[in-house]
């Protein structure tokens, strides 16, 4: 049953990807990308990764769709096709695909319990989390406690990225006068 659900979802993902590539209206692309994120969230739920699914649904389908639409409002919502030779990009794409598939050959089979990643620190977290932190959701205790430094770094990344985008979007508003070189404040106007 679960295999069938995942198979249907992955097929839909592939269909949406092809439609996005062929789509020229950027509004359609943004909406389809939101749909893609929702389907991806469903796949993650089927894989029992509920925390990641929640993030994908809220960030991928929610916030980024809104920000993309806001960008379209500021720019043009139609993509102009640029005629380009397709041979070199196709070659690069096929080459990267081949390398990636070659890379997966040595990986342990998907979902096997005795893969190295499940044998290193994960059993320790699963056994000791409730005892050491009284938190039953191991995802939260790993994220905020055992790997607290990583999450501090992630928060700083969000902070830095947010400040950077704010500066980029606002940068144009402060202009310098051509004659005197003084700063001209337009914000008060």
């Amino acid at each position: 049953m679960e295999v069938a659900v995942v198979a249907v979802l992955l097929t839909l993902l592939a269909v949406i990807t092809v439609v996005i590539i062929r789509q020229r209206s950027l509004f359609g692309v943004v909406i389809l990308a939101g749909t893609y994120s929702f389907l991806m969230a469903s796949v993650l739920i089927a894989l029992d990764a509920v925390d990641v699914a929640m993030t994908e649904a809220s960030v991928g389908a929610g916030i980024s769709t809104v920000l993309f639409l806001a960008t379209l409002y500021l720019t043009n919502s139609r993509e102009y096709p640029v005629p380009r030779p397709a041979a070199i990009p196709l070659f690069v794409a096929l080459g990267v695909t081949a390398v990636l598939i070659y890379g997966t050959l040595e990986l342990p089979r998907f979902g096997t319990a005795d893969a190295p990643i499940h044998k290193h620190a994960a059993p320790r977290y699963l056994e000791k989390s409730v005892e050491e932190t009284t938190v039953p959701n191991v995802v939260t205790s790993v994220l905020a406690d055992y790997r607290g430094f990583d999450t501090l770094g992630e928060t700083v990344v969000i902070f830095t990225a947010g400040i950077g985008v704010l500066l980029l979007l606002r940068g144009r508003r402060r202009r310098y006068s051509a004659e005197t070189g003084d700063e001209v404040h337009e914000n008060e106007a």
Partner: protein, 140 residues
């Protein structure tokens, strides 16, 4: 937008539930799926929905831009300063045992809540500030 009566009424009904759900995801993150990051995004989604339906000006009266932009570094500050008591007590940075020396596990629980509060504040305010910044560009 003025005439979209159904959208306006329905979003008015939905908005408080979105905020409560965000707080639920935040405070229940220790027991169920979710945590500060997801809660922050959902709470920001609530303000963004408000901004889309009622206009960014009305949203800025509820959540002033200055306040939102102060909250971005505030969250990081809360997170980073959570680790300072443990340094003063001679433990490792971000060792939450310091918050309850008799039951270290309870201290860890509290510490996780503090840290997640820092995350929710930064994520929420960053998302809303980005939305405001896009809205400002549109008016020029």
């Amino acid at each position: 937008m003025r005439l979209d009566l159904i959208l306006r009424i329905v979003s008015k009904l939905v908005l408080p539930f979105m905020l409560v759900f965000a707080l639920y995801v935040h405070f229940h993150g220790d027991f169920g799926p979710g945590g500060g990051f997801q809660a922050g995004v959902i709470a920001a989604g609530m303000l963004i929905l408000h901004g889309i339906i009622f206009g960014v000006g009305a949203t800025k009266r509820i959540a002033p831009q200055g306040l939102i932009e102060t909250m971005i570094p505030l969250g990081v500050l809360i997170y980073a300063s959570t680790g300072i008591p443990s340094i003063l007590a001679g433990l490792n940075y971000l060792n939450y045992a310091v918050f309850d020396l008799h039951h270290p596990s309870h201290g860890h629980h509290l510490g996780i809540l503090f840290v997640e509060s820092g995350v929710i504040i930064t994520v929420f305010s960053t998302m809303v500030a980005l939305f405001y910044a896009f809205g400002e560009r549109g008016r020029e």
